[in-house]
C-alpha cells in the first residue's frame, strides 16, 4: 500500500494497493485436464476513520495480484 507521506485535512489523496494473490479464475484446466478450483479475493473494503468509503467486489476477470488505485 502506498499513500502520500503528508496530507492536509480535507485533501483528496491517492491510495495505491497491491495484493499478492494468484486470483485463480476457476476456468483453467491443469495438465491432467481437471479444472483448477476458483480461488480469488472476493471483496476489498477501504475505511477512513472507521467509515467505509470504498467496497469492491472482485470477480475472476480481475488480473492476478490485484492492483487497486483509488482516492
Amino acid at each position: 500500500m502506498k499513500v502520500p507521506a503528508t496530507a492536509l485535512a480535507g485533501e483528496t489523496i491517492e491510495i495505491r494497493t497491491l495484493l499478492r494473490h494468484r486470483m485463480e479464475s476457476g476456468e483453467r484446466l491443469d495438465e491432467a485436464g481437471v479444472r483448477v478450483p476458483r480461488d480469488i479475493v472476493n471483496r476489498f473494503v477501504a475505511r477512513f476513520d472507521g467509515e467505509v468509503f470504498l467496497e469492491v467486489e472482485l470477480q475472476p476477470g480481475v488480473a492476478e495480484n490485484p492492483w487497486l488505485v483509488f482516492t
Binding site: 483528496t12 489523496i13 491517492e14 494468484r22 486470483m23 485463480e24 479464475s25 476456468e27 483453467r28 484446466l29 491443469d30 495438465e31 485436464g33 483448477v36 477512513f48 467509515e51 467505509v52 468509503f53 470504498l54 467496497e55 469492491v56 467486489e57 472482485l58 470477480q59 475472476p60 476477470g61 480481475v62 488480473a63 492476478e64 490485484p66 492492483w67 487497486l68 488505485v69 483509488f70 482516492t71
Partner: protein, 158 residues
C-alpha cells in the same frame, strides 16, 4: 456493438445493478464517465483499466456504484465497486483480464439515479502461451489447457 450484444449487455447491467441495494438507475444526466483502456492489450492477463466519473462527490450527489463489464469474458462482470461521499473522487484504476478482443464497459450509478457509462475497445495483441508442456504455443488453441480463460501461468513471449 451489435444490437443483440447491446441488449445482452443492458440486461446484464440492469441485473447486476438490481442485485445492489439503492435506487434504480436511469439513463442520461450531466455526469460523465471516462473509461481508460489501452487500444492494444499486449498481455490479456493484465490490462490496465481506469475510470473517472465527473461528480461533485457530495452527500446529495455522489457516485454510488460502478460496474466494470467485459462481455466476451467467461464472467462478464469484472468488478463491482460501491462508493460513498467519503471517497475523495470517483476515480479508480486496476488491472483486468481480457479473454479476447472486446469492448469493455464501465457503468456508474449516482445517488441521484443517473447512470453514466463509457465503453472502450481493446484489441488483444501479442503472442501468448502458457507454461504447460501441452500448450502448442500459440494462444488461443483448443488444445491448450490455458485457452478457456487467461490464468496465472501464462507469460508473454517477448
Amino acid at each position: 456493438m451489435n444490437s443483440r450484444r447491446r441488449r445482452v449487455l443492458d440486461a446484464a447491467a440492469s441485473a447486476a445493478f438490481a442485485a445492489l441495494p439503492g435506487a434504480p438507475a436511469r439513463e442520461g444526466g450531466g455526469d460523465a464517465l471516462a473509461l481508460e483502456l489501452p487500444e492494444v492489450a499486449e498481455n490479456g492477463f493484465s490490462v490496465p483499466l481506469a475510470f473517472s466519473v465527473s461528480s461533485p462527490t457530495s452527500a446529495a450527489d455522489h457516485v454510488d456504484a460502478v460496474l466494470i463489464l467485459a462481455p466476451e469474458n467467461p464472467h462478464a462482470v469484472v468488478a463491482t465497486s460501491r462508493l460513498t461521499p467519503a471517497s475523495g473522487t470517483a476515480r479508480a484504476a486496476t488491472r483486468i483480464r481480457l479473454a479476447r478482443t472486446q469492448t469493455a464497459t464501465a457503468l456508474a450509478r449516482t445517488s441521484t439515479g443517473v447512470a453514466p457509462h463509457d465503453a472502450r475497445r481493446a484489441r488483444r495483441g501479442g503472442r501468448l502461451r502458457c507454461l504447460s508442456p501441452r500448450c502448442p504455443g500459440r494462444y488461443p488453441s483448443p488444445r491448450c489447457p490455458c485457452t478457456r480463460y487467461p490464468g496465472a501461468r501464462a507469460r508473454s513471449r517477448a
